[in-house]
């Protein structure tokens, strides 16, 4: 028994991490859908889900149950094996990629020295699920959706690749952890050195995840539901899961490469160290909101469990924040060699990482509420005639800038900004030509 435990020991911690990441991402996806519905609703003078739980907080669970219990319909004439396989491919690809994301210096599943390349590779596997699903449905709308998806992915992957190269030039490594560490060492997030590359990455990421204004593969007013028109129930929910996991994934990549990953804003400024307490502040605010809502709800019988739920949430949030503030000297052993607030320090990385990811995701949702949809040819022309040339120009000018700053001893940021200015000039010229 102890032998078994001994042999399993090196696998145990990674396994726990895999489980935590898998469950965590699934939970975040569920509540991302809720957040999307709420945010969109408030952009559109509505309230969004309000019925299931206080402020609809239990809606994702109800949705999930509904999807699980629905009939699994397979169209006649569908290619059975491929039809069943396709959504699984999408989900596996989306979730596997998370194994390479460094959520915090003390929390990642693995770090490979070609991590970024693997990420791109695995995430491009996800597209196979969309293509095969669209084809296997044996129906015209999914087929058109799959065709659009293919063309879109192939075009925007190139721009995405060049945007990543711009960041890699600065980091000098493909390892995801080392990229963040490079930003820590240089004392600046790469977004401030490479704004154009960041912008291109952002746009390409929206295109890659088929989100508005590039949601052509599932354009509901044109293709009904695009590639997943014929999918229902659990299989549809797999696609859904994959799409939102992919959103989180591309946001994570962007955060790692350009927004300093797990680093706190102004991580080097000692005077702003009080920012370390932001997690506590957020939790306390959330608890305050829960208590306020709890007292605003009518004190009648049918609202009782909702009020209890809110109260429980509030108390839970307060409890966690108290736990975070547990000083080291109360720990067994006096907390020798530990930071003043061990729990707080431990979650710093994950907190800041996820905060930045949520910022990104909010952008995704905001765009969805604001923009009309591009047409297929416009999307292609934007990709090939604008994004790719600008991305290439950016790579060229920024590598020039890096070489110049090394040879001439000029300051790196200033030289890079010069390169960025040159890139912007190219972009302006491209726009003029088009108009």
């Amino acid at each position: 028994m102890t032998l078994l435990l001994e042999t399993l020991k090196p696998y145990l911690l990674p396994l726990i991490r895999v489980l935590v990441v898998f469950l965590g991402i699934s939970l975040i996806v569920a509540y991302l859908v809720y957040a999307e519905r709420k945010i969109l609703a408030h952009l559109q003078v509505r309230l969004g889900p309000m019925r299931v739980g206080p402020h609809g907080l239990l809606q994702p669970i109800a949705d999930g149950l509904k999807l699980l219990l629905k009939e699994d319909i397979m169209p006649a004439g569908a290619d059975k094996g491929v039809f069943l396989l396709a959504p699984v491919i999408s989900v596996i690809a989306a979730f596997t990629a998370f194994s390479l994301i460094p959520f915090a210096p003390n929390f990642y599943i693995t770090d490979v020295n070609v991590g970024l390349l693997f990420l791109i590779g695995i995430s491009s596997l996800g597209i196979l699920g969309i293509i095969l699903g669209g084809w296997a449905s044996n129906s015209h709308y999914p087929l058109l959706g799959a065709l659009r998806s293919t063309a879109q992915l192939v075009s925007y992957e190139v721009a995405l690749g060049f945007a990543l190269v711009s960041a890699l030039l600065l980091a000098g490594t493909l390892s995801m952890v080392a990229i963040v560490e490079a930003q820590q060492r240089q004392g600046v997030w790469f977004v401030f050195l490479q704004p154009v590359a960041f912008f291109i990455l952002f746009v390409a990421a929206i295109a890659e995840t088929n989100r508005n204004p590039f949601d052509l593969p599932e354009a509901e007013s044109e293709l009904v539901a695009g590639f997943h028109t014929e999918y229902s129930g659990f299989r549809f929910s797999l696609y859904f899961l994959a799409e939102y996991a992919a959103m989180i994934l591309v946001s994570s990549i962007a955060v790692t490469l350009f927004l300093g990953g797990w680093l706190r804003p102004f991580a080097r400024v000692r005077a702003l160290d009080f920012l370390d307490f932001t997690p506590v502040a957020v939790l306390v605010l959330a608890a305050a909101w829960c208590f306020r809502e709890c007292f605003r709800y009518p004190a009648t019988r049918e609202w009782r469990w909702q009020r209890l739920l809110l109260l429980g949430l509030g108390v839970g949030a307060l409890g966690i924040s108290a736990g975070l503030l547990l000083p080291a000297r109360f720990l067994p052993g006096g907390g020798e060699g530990l930071p003043a607030f061990p729990a707080l320090t431990a979650i710093q990385g994950v907190f800041w990482f996820m905060s930045k990811v949520f910022l990104f995701l909010f952008g995704f949702i905001w765009f969805r509420g604001t923009f009309p949809r591009y047409r297929f040819d416009q999307l292609m022309s934007l990709g090939w005639h604008f994004m790719i040339p600008v991305a290439i120009a950016n790579v060229i000018f920024c590598s020039l800038a890096i070489v110049l700053s090394r040879q001439m001893g000029w300051g790196l940021p200033a030289t890079l900004w010069l390169g960025t200015a040159a890139t912007l000039l190219v972009a302006a010229l491209l726009r003029r030509e088009k108009a």
């Binding site: 969109l40 003078v45 508005n212 007013s221 044109e222 969805r368 923009f371 009309p372 591009y374 047409r375």
Partner: protein, 375 residues
Amino acid sequence: MAQPQDISTTVLGADEIILNMGPQHPATHGVLRVKLKLDGEKVIGSECIIGYLHRGVEKIGENRSYPQFAPYVDRTDYVAAVSNGLGYCEAVERLLGVEAPPRARWVRTILTELQRIASHLLWLGTHALDIGAITPVFYTFREREEILKIFEKYCGARLTTHAFRIGGLQYETYDGFEEDVKKFCRDFEEKVDEYGELLTENRIWVERTRNVGILTAQDAIDLGVTGPVLRGSGVRWDIRKAFPYAAYAQFEFDIPIGERGDTYDRYLVRMEEMRQARRIILQAVDSIPEGPILARVGKVIKPPPGEVYHSIEAPKGELGYYIVSDGTIQPYRLRIRPPSFINLEAFDKMVRGHLVADVVAIIGTLDIVLGEVDR
């Protein structure tokens, strides 16, 4: 021995797809069914199949007395019921040779123009939704709701209002009618600009609508399209100006026209029409004359034998009623000239050579209502 085959016609012969859109499709505005012949995503031919909502409204008209038929016309273009009612009542009035009293005509003008705004708001929201902007529809429905509230307060119904009677109005305006209308107009001005902010200058919106579904002025006239579709092509034709009815002769307003006849021009025309409608309403509501609301038409409406064609400028175009009377209480023959049906004729001309995404934009810009197309 296998025959050598021309590869372009066999395995790789991926030339044409027939795509069936509708009658259940999110963007065909009801039960329109379109068969598209596609080359990749390019449309090389189209066929509209209609009739899924056919109820034989015109035939029903021959079997009902004149006042009995009035509620039926609300159900043709059901998002502009007030306009339908106005057209029918005025047609019968002309057959009878009576004219509604001034107060009735003023109120009719106000309600019809409100209905025009409501109809255009519905068009704007759904059109934007088709092109992928999901937010404007909620904003436009917010304002449309205010208009429907005025209708509800006036006659008790919101959608199929049956607001007018042959010879004038059945109901006097309610207390505070003028204030409600004025308040709506006051708020509405900046609301139109708000929609404009979301769309008019939006690059994606402009790219999606510019040069899409171009209809030249000559084509538009040849096909007989009317309303904003015709005016978008640059033809200054509006029945409110050409053959003024109700009280339109009394008010000042402009007829916006487009230049290129594309979807964006039609968008601009409709947006401007909403502003002009507001202008008409404001003029009308300040000058509602006092007096009776119903002309003397008698208890049984029995027009003398004869025929009449009367048309009005409905939100979607020329809405005409052709009624033949044989001197009984029922029309001998009744025919509606629905603007949607005739505007839909331009569909094939407009979609050819465009992409699937443009098809929904063009269905949206034609602003059809299937209740009216199929009758």
